[in-house]
């Protein structure tokens, strides 16, 4: 078996690690990982916030997998015909992979931020991903946000990435100094004049995608306090059963922040049931941006946010959209309807609906941008099992080459 894994993030390493365990020790297989970036580990290196170092302990297991001499990692290699965002990457056509390897796994993640139709990119509106790439110093090297010229930041989105960005903006720079935050980033954070971070979500606390750990870190921020939530926002609907997490979220929000609101210089708020309707950037009349927000309710039948007709406007200095991610539309086997690669039981499916032999998808690339490391690990282990079962079904012979099934979608090969 000679396996190419396109992508060198946690999904790729968990697949490799599990294969080391499942394949016969005496088998002379190869696992080669390719990544556009010169360093491995994907989001663990360039996504996890610097003040969450324990999450990065998973790399010890990746290192263990990499010590096996049958595994090799090739960094700075852009597989496929998509132009790489990085100028210096070496290009490797997908056809080379298909003709040199017996098995292929796409573990390419979901690298592009979802944008909001009413909030086009501008100097006043950036993606949370560019903030994350800035504070992790991703090779894309986005410019630092002008934190010394802002006092009010509006984060659009109720996921953990939103809370990570808020926490980085509201934590004292001397606390962050203890972690692996790059010097250049600390310099910018030290000059920050951000006073309030508003976290805007189009639905309510029960629908928020953030999880308890990140919410609790916000609640317990030593140098900031939360605008108390109106009690009616924390009342669950009659007769609707809540998950354990939802119950705990409501309990925590009703207790409020550790610091009473008003006792700290920096503040933050969860602005539920608000959906951006437009952004007026600064002009001669207005030195600040004006964010229009449509008020919403959740339709119990569809669980979707529905506008009520009411609107309001918030003066803000920077809008940061944190609305999830999708795959690259020109990538092979990408399904535009899904926003990620098309797979069935871990096997890649072409536009024509045929399942490719020996070609698999793993992690966010395969299922969309959902799930923390634990979920990615379980999925990767499942992919590894599928690969081994398929391989053994064919008597363990690896002369079969994967067929790059005709239509890969997009502008290809």
């Amino acid at each position: 078996m000679k396996l190419a894994i396109i992508g060198g993030g946690p999904s790729a390493f968990y697949v490799a690690s599990r294969l080391h365990k499942l394949l016969p020790q005496t088998l002379d297989y190869r696992i080669h990982l390719f990544d556009r970036l010169w360093s491995p580990h994907g989001l663990v290196r360039y996504g996890v916030a610097p003040d969450h170092p324990e999450v990065k302990n998973c790399t010890h297991k990746f290192d263990e997998a990499a010590l096996d001499r049958r595994l090799r990692f090739f960094g700075n290699v852009n597989v496929g015909d998509n132009p790489s965002p990085l100028q210096h990457t070496v290009k490797l056509p997908l056809s080379s992979i298909f003709s040199n390897y017996s098995h292929v796994v796409f573990a390419t993640g979901c690298t592009l931020p979802k944008r909001h139709s009413e909030l086009p990119p501008s100097a006043s509106c950036i993606s949370a991903l560019s903030m994350v790439h800035w504070y992790t110093q991703h090779p894309n090297a986005p410019s630092p946000p002008p934190l010394d010229k802002l006092s009010h930041v509006s984060l659009i989105g109720n996921g953990n990435v939103s809370l990570d960005v808020a926490r980085m903006l509201l934590t004292n720079v001397d606390v962050l100094r203890k972690y692996d935050v790059p010097e250049r980033v600390l310099d910018v954070l030290a000059e920050s004049t951000v006073k309030h971070v508003s976290i805007v979500g189009r639905r309510g606390p029960l629908e928020a995608a953030f999880t308890m750990k990140e919410l609790r870190e916000m609640i317990n921020l030593p140098d900031a306090s939360m605008v108390p939530l109106a009690p009616e926002l924390l009342q669950p609907s009659e007769g609707v059963p809540l998950t354990r997490q939802q119950t705990r979220v409501l309990q925590l929000l009703s207790k409020g922040s550790k610091n009473t609101f008003g006792t700290t210089a920096k503040t933050w708020s969860l602005d539920f049931y608000r959906s951006p309707a437009g952004l007026m950037v600064p002009s001669s009349e207005n030195t600040r941006s004006q964010l229009s927000l449509a008020h919403t309710v959740v339709d119990p039948a569809t669980q979707r946010a529905v506008p009520t007709g009411e609107t309001s406007t918030v003066a803000t200095d920077l809008v940061v959209t944190s609305l999830g991610f999708h795959g690259e539309p020109t990538a092979p086997y990408f399904d535009p309807g899904l926003g990620h690669l098309r797979t069935l039981s871990n096997r890649i499916v072409t536009n024509a609906g045929t399942t490719l032999r020996n070609v698999y998808g793993s992690g966010w690339a395969s299922a969309g941008a959902h799930g923390v490391l634990a979920a990615t690990m379980m999925n990767a282990y499942d992919v590894a099992e599928t690969i081994v079962n398929d391989h053994m079904k064919h008597g363990g012979r690896d002369e079969s080459r994967p067929v790059a099934g005709g239509d890969t979608g997009g502008a290809q090969n």
Binding site: P53, E54, V55, N57, E64, D68, R216, R248, A375, M378
Partner: protein, 166 residues
């Protein structure tokens, strides 16, 4: 012909010193920063007690089939015990309560003997797959003599979890 995969290795806190004293009128001297390193919670293995003298733990799979019966010491946590005896229990964050991969299910009577989980453990349990009323993170359960003979059940993994989960 090939090296066997190495065991987990210790990492110690390192102080990174700038190597060359690179003096130039235009450059500020390098700030001395320490490299942050998370403490590794696990050493090469826990010590196995002499057979018959330790606290007996039975690891079962999700269907109730016995995987292995092992012995460990007072104060050892379930995750460390599982790793010592090569039981398939993951610990991605290595015991720092930053993941839910060491989730285990305990029998009710033994569960009730344990101190309540702290907030941070409960926050991680929220996200554990197949959570039950007697679930704990294995890395947070320290063995005592009262837990002798306990059955520790590993939760089921499922193909659909990644799609259905949060």
């Amino acid at each position: 012909m090939f090296t066997t995969p190495a065991r987990l290795f210790l990492r110690s806190l390192k102080t990174l010193r700038p190597t060359a004293a690179f003096r130039s009128a235009n450059l500020a001297p390098c700030a001395r920063r320490t490299m942050h390193s998370s403490m590794v919670r696990y050493h090469a293995g826990i010590e196995r007690p002499a057979p018959g003298t330790g606290i007996k733990i039975h690891f079962n799979d999700s269907k109730g089939t016995l995987i292995k019966t092992v012995e460990a010491n007072e104060g050892d946590d379930i995750l460390a015990v599982a790793h010592e005896y090569d039981i398939d229990l993951e610990g991605a964050c290595e015991g720092s309560v930053a993941c839910s991969t060491c989730h285990v299910i305990l029998p009710e009577d033994k569960y009730d003997l344990l101190p309540e989980p702290e907030d941070d453990e409960n926050d991680m349990l929220d996200m554990a797959f197949g959570l039950t009323d007697t679930s704990r993170l294995g890395c947070q359960v320290k063995l005592t003599k009262a837990l002798d003979g306990m059955v520790v059940t590993l939760p089921a993994a499922t193909r659909n979890m990644f799609v259905d989960g949060a």
